[in-house]
């Protein structure tokens, strides 16, 4: 979904060869990716994959053992006060000072950066639509309101990059929908967003590009759509004489048979098809194969193409990692 304007190609965040060891254990083994201006970049990985550690390194909460993080060309570790000026972030939960009002919280963070006026505070309050409760104590806020206040805080310094860590956690479906629309609006305004999630549907719905992390390593970076199309599409056969059919398919060099436990198709798709034969083959070979089955007297009850979801793609990538 990335546009082709030159501005969009400008790199806002560049992560190069990031590694982190705690004690003797290397928990981040090498993370590299770039985030361009105006895009929504997904950061996908299961819990415990090193996602949170990486995000914390992006905002200088954790010092990397090696590697570089550049925000708008400034090194986050060497020049945090320059680099972080362009970053707004919420790491995990939007934790603010409960004993201060929303407004006082914003004032607090505004004082930590030059050039943020009272007008700007009022502006971000309006952007997140909180003007009604902004002068109440934060401890009286609901999670959704805290989330909004967190985003307001992150937007204070007009950042070029907004980092949100699992932003939909704990929100109700309506809130999630609103958040998605809000994020899209921000991106359309030229801001880059870096959004982490362990939910693939989330990333598919929100992001332009994605980096997938597993066990401390980025195993794939690319356009969400491209990554999906790269993956194998399954062809599922349902035949009246499965044994004979299987033998025929096996003999065909253009067809790869997938064993019962090696595929990653959701069980709901295969329900009621106990004898389904799962293969990987080119789309244009299907018609010929059907013809040969018919010629051999094998009845074809159904042929089905199954596209992989991002989840399958992800699991495939990580599985490969494990084997390799």
């Amino acid at each position: 979904m990335s546009t082709n304007t030159p501005k969009a190609q400008e790199t806002v965040l560049s992560v190069q060869g990031l590694k982190k060891s705690i004690g003797r254990k290397e928990i981040i083994k090498g993370v590299s990716f770039d985030v361009r201006a105006g895009e929504i970049f997904g950061f996908l990985g299961p819990n415990g994959s090193g996602k949170t550690t990486t995000i914390r390194m992006l905002v200088d909460l954790i010092k990397p053992t090696s590697g570089r993080i550049l925000v708008c060309g400034e090194d986050v570790n060497r020049n945090p006060e320059r680099a972080l000026r362009h970053v707004g972030c919420i790491v995990e939960n939007p934790e603010m000072y409960g004993y201060l009002t929303g407004w006082e919280n914003l004032e607090h963070f505004a004082r930590m950066q030059e050039g943020i006026t009272a007008e700007r505070i009022a502006e971000v309050v309006e952007i997140v639509g909180m003007d009604r409760r902004i002068h109440d104590k934060v401890k009286t806020y609901s999670l959704g309101m805290r989330q909004r206040l967190g985003i307001a805080q992150a937007l204070l310094g007009k950042p070029k990059l907004l980092i949100l860590d699992e932003p939909t956690n704990g929100l109700d479906p309506l809130g999630i929908k609103e958040l998605r629309a809000f994020i899209r609006r921000l991106a359309d305004g030229g801001m880059s967003l870096f959004i982490s999630s362990h939910l693939l549907s989330e990333i598919q719905l929100m992001c332009d590009r994605v980096a997938i992390i597993a066990r401390g390593e980025v195993i794939a970076v690319g356009d969400v759509d491209e990554l999906v199309s790269q993956a194998d599409t399954y062809t599922v056969w349902l035949l009246d004489r499965p044994e004979a059919g299987k033998a025929m398919l096996e003999a065909d060099p253009g067809v790869r048979l997938i064993g019962e436990h090696e595929h990653r198709i959701d069980d709901s798709i295969l329900a009621g098809m106990p004898e389904a034969i799962i293969t990987v083959m080119e789309e244009d070979r299907i018609a010929g194969t059907v013809a040969r089955f018919v010629g051999a007297g094998i009845g074809v009850k159904a042929v089905q193409r199954v596209s992989p979801s991002l989840e399958e793609l992800f699991l495939g990538l990580t599985e490969g990692e494990k084997i390799g």
Binding site: D60, P80, C89, G98, L100, H108, M112, Q113
Partner: protein, 329 residues
């Protein structure tokens, strides 16, 4: 780069809005009247006994302490202390100065002398222990450290704020003490003379440098010395607060150290190297009073050096850890 003053403003407002200082004032408002009442009872009792004859009362104290010196059951260390006290009281009697005129200033002076080892450190800890660990346990540290400000500036602003609050606490204690006790004992006494400069060496008190000063000056010097001791406690508490994630653990650790110091001081230990511990050196006002130090060989200069070195080490550790530390949760 935000300027330091703005950061100090942030921290000051947070401590205030978190009602930490209010808690301190509340503790003072509850405890001071208790001590005033106790002191009033003592005063009434002795007024009944001595009919306002302070010389007789003072002599009685001297006699009581001298009698205790004759007892075999009292440890030698305590005798040393009493012997010095007797010589001091005798000095007051010989110069016909009442060391304990009943008024608000005398009460305040006595209260502050007693408060320096436990009570004031406790109130300092109420603020200092929470300063960093409070941000960590609520997670707000993540917001604080991802702003474009260098970490040492954040910690430095917290240190400045702590210094300001320690000063406020001490002055508030003096002021509240004076105001509350004045209701009972009267608001006079600022100009009354008090002797300083007793030099204790072993069991003997050298009075050659003794001179009289007005009580207001004494209270001022006393508060200044208490401030120095409190700052050491505050800085060490800040260090523990950096090292330990939970406020409770940080408070308990420091409180244990302070109480251990008070106990060690009272044991007047023959364990000589204990004098290098910070918590044994907190009672700086005793040098002003001229009471013997808990361990032989301790002087005002020595205690100031020990406290200063501990504070310096605390600062180095705090800043080194805080600026390098990974915030893992």
């Amino acid at each position: 780069m935000a300027n330091l003053l703005a950061l100090v403003q942030n921290e000051t407002i947070k401590v205030w809005k978190k009602k930490r200082f209010a808690v301190v004032v509340l503790i003072l408002l509850i405890l001071i009247p208790v001590f005033v009442y106790a002191q009033m009872k003592i005063a009434q009792n002795s007024a009944e006994k001595f009919k306002g004859d302070w010389r007789a009362e003072l002599q009685n104290r001297i006699t009581d302490n001298t009698r205790a010196l004759g007892s075999d059951r009292i440890p030698e260390e305590w005798k040393k202390w009493r012997r010095a006290l007797v010589q001091q009281l005798q000095y007051y009697l010989d110069h016909d100065i009442n060391p304990q005129t009943p008024n608000a200033v005398t009460f305040t002076r006595g209260f502050m002398d007693n408060a320096v080892t436990l009570f004031i450190p406790l109130m300092v800890l109420a603020i200092a222990s929470d300063l960093v660990s409070g941000e960590r346990s609520t997670g707000t540290i993540k917001m604080l450290l991802t702003r474009p400000v260098r970490r040492w500036r954040i910690l430095f602003s917290k240190l400045v704020t702590l210094t300001l609050y320690v000063s406020l606490i001490i002055v508030s204690t003096v002021v509240l003490c004076y105001l509350i006790s004045g209701l009972v004992f009267g608001y006079r006494g600022w100009g009354e003379p008090i002797f300083v400069g007793f030099q204790v060496s072993g069991a003997d008190v050298n009075t050659s440098a003794v001179h009289a000063i007005p009580q207001y000056l004494y209270v001022l010097m006393q508060a200044g010395l208490i401030w120095f001791a409190s700052m050491t406690v505050a800085i060490l508490a800040l260090m523990v607060s950096v090292l330990v994630r939970s406020t409770a653990a940080s408070f308990v650790t420091m409180m244990a150290a302070i109480i251990a110091g008070a106990i060690l001081t009272n044991m007047a230990s023959s364990w000589h190297s204990a004098k290098y511990l910070f918590n044994v050196n907190l009672e700086l006002t005793s040098y002003l009073q001229g009471t013997p130090p808990p361990i032989e060989g301790m002087t005002l200069g020595f205690s100031l050096c020990v406290l200063g070195l501990w504070a310096l080490a605390g600062l180095v550790v705090s800043f080194a850890v805080f600026t390098k530390q990974d915030i893992l949760n």
